[in-house]
């Protein structure tokens, strides 16, 4: 059974200190490249966005000191990381673990919204399209990162596992048996 919204872990504040001085330009470039790889692997996800495949989404992990701007750009996505508020068609805000849990199918988006662990602002239909498209893609961020790491895949998995242990935030898709 998945965790109830009340149990959603928050990213430890002390672990956010390095992120406050992180240069965002390289991070944006890495995330853009990562998202394009995912787009190549899961083209159906961007098709599902339909008329919203050029909408700009603001993903706001409220326990991190930055927001992520995702422009699907018709299947050739661009990602930028910025401090403070950003403009977009829709803003989806919540703890990082909740946002990742949505991606991994660990949480139900409506349940997170009802419990107010998730905040949606702006174009609700665009946010809904993104939620539905991501839910259907059955993504696993840790697996995607490992696949992209080539010969360093094993090291990547160890690093991700370390981050998960230190922060309590799941970066991978749990097994379905423990998920539901």
């Amino acid at each position: 059974m998945s965790q109830s919204p009340a149990q959603i872990p928050r990213f430890p504040q002390v672990a956010t200190y390095p992120l406050r001085v992180l240069p965002f330009a390289p991070l944006s470039a890495i995330l853009s490249a990562f998202s394009r790889k995912i787009a190549q692997k899961h083209p159906g996800m961007f098709r599902r966005l339909g008329e919203y495949d050029h909408s700009r989404f603001i993903l706001d992990p409220t326990d991190l000191p930055f927001v992520i701007c995702l422009d699907p750009n018709g299947g050739n996505p661009r990602v930028s990381v910025t401090r403070g508020p950003a403009d977009g068609a829709a803003r989806i805000a919540g703890p990082l673990a909740a946002l990742l849990g949505l991606v991994h199918g660990a949480y139900d988006g409506d349940a997170l919204f009802f419990s107010r662990d998730l905040v949606i602002e702006g174009d609700t239909a665009a946010a809904l399209a993104l939620r539905n498209a991501v839910d259907d893609a059955e993504l696993d961020f840790a697996q995607e990162l490992s696949d992209l790491s080539g010969p360093l895949a094993h090291s990547m998995q160890r690093v991700l596992a370390l981050i998960e242990r230190r922060t309590g935030v799941n970066l991978s898709r749990p097994e379905e048996a423990e998920l539901w």
Partner: protein, 327 residues
């Protein structure tokens, strides 16, 4: 005989999740205005439907295709091709609401099993028997406005299988007849496949006070810490004169899991879970709960305790009309 669990699937991933979680039957729709959950990012194209049906059949589950909006005059071909494509995809049945589409299907696709959608609002034995005799309907999805004794009375007077909602969003209106959504947005589930469409929904959170608007009208205002509702007019909180309150129904979800034994005694064949707009996580959790319940009932064991409150709108649940008197 085990009662059939009929589960929603808004995406191929949700269909697979439902089947793996133990659904006997999954219902879904094409990604267009032919089904009553025509939401952005949801539903199946033809290839996905074919693959979904094949996956379900491989795992011993059935697939019902909902084509349950009312065709627009002059554009019937969209609905006719949906029926033909559902049959070509191998669907076990189609769920229809419109009498004209039922007639078309009975005439052109006589081998395709026909279920009557809740959108037809068939709420008595006479009208159900009419649909059976005229269009060969084998099963009816009953509106969520009937009590358990009323359902038993219907079953006593018809040979048509009955399917009832047991969990999920609670529509308290005569479905297929309700135009509340149209008043605020110009769109309805009956004609467009959307009730309170997301394109007309707006949330504004100021210092923790959340306004939920539909078509520009504030339907709910909740304080910090209170559960957030979806702004549907039938569950809105309104002020008139000195009074403020929910006019038709609170923002709650239906949960009739404890009534399953009574529904079985009332002659119900299948238990339907609402929520094609929900995630695969929701689908899997709800299906597991209800499958465990009907298996326990069949084996003569007590029903397991429910664990579904947090998935509900308003995080509150009701047994709906099954056990209550309407305001």
């Amino acid at each position: 005989m085990v009662m059939e669990i009929v589960c929603p699937a808004g995406t191929p991933a949700a269909l697979r999740a439902a089947v793996k979680a133990g659904a006997h039957t999954v219902y879904c729709g094409f990604a267009d205005e032919t089904n009553a959950r025509n939401f952005p990012g949801l539903n199946f194209d033809r290839a996905e439907m074919r693959e979904g049906v094949a996956f379900a059949h491989q795992h011993g589950a059935k697939v019902l295709v909902a084509i349950n909006t009312f065709p627009r005059a002059g554009h019937e071909a969209i609905w006719h091709s949906a029926v033909a494509d559902a049959e070509a995809c191998g669907a076990d049945a189609v769920i229809l609401a419109d009498a004209g589409l039922l007639a078309h299907t009975a005439h052109h696709h006589p081998g395709l099993r026909r279920h009557l959608s809740v959108q037809a609002a068939a709420a008595n034995a006479d009208v159900i028997n009419y649909y059976a005799e005229t269009f060969g309907v084998k099963r009816v999805v009953l509106p969520r406005v009937l009590s358990v004794p009323e359902i038993a009375a219907i079953n006593a007077e018809t040979e048509v299988e009955t399917e009832v909602f047991v969990f999920g969003g609670l529509c308290v209106m005569a479905e297929g007849r309700c135009s509340l959504s149209s008043y605020a947005t110009g769109k309805s589930p009956n004609m467009n496949g959307v009730c309170s469409p997301a394109s007309h929904v707006e949330y504004r959170d100021e210092n923790g006070v959340l306004d939920a608007r539909l078509g520009g009208y504030i339907i709910h205002r909740v304080n910090k810490g209170e559960a957030a509702p979806y702004p549907t007019l039938c569950k809105g909180c309104f002020s008139a004169g000195e009074k403020t309150g929910h006019l038709f129904e609170d923002p709650v979800s239906l949960n009739a899991e404890k009534l399953i034994p009574q529904l079985q005694k009332a002659g119900v064949t299948a238990l339907k879970i609402e929520g094609r707009q929900r995630s695969r996580s929701y689908v899997a959790q709800v299906v597991r709960n209800f499958r465990a319940a009907v298996d326990a009932l069949d084996a003569g064991r007590p029903l397991p305790e429910g664990m579904l409150a947090r998935l509900s709108e308003g995080q509150a649940m009701t047994t709906g009309a099954y056990k209550k008197t309407w305001r």
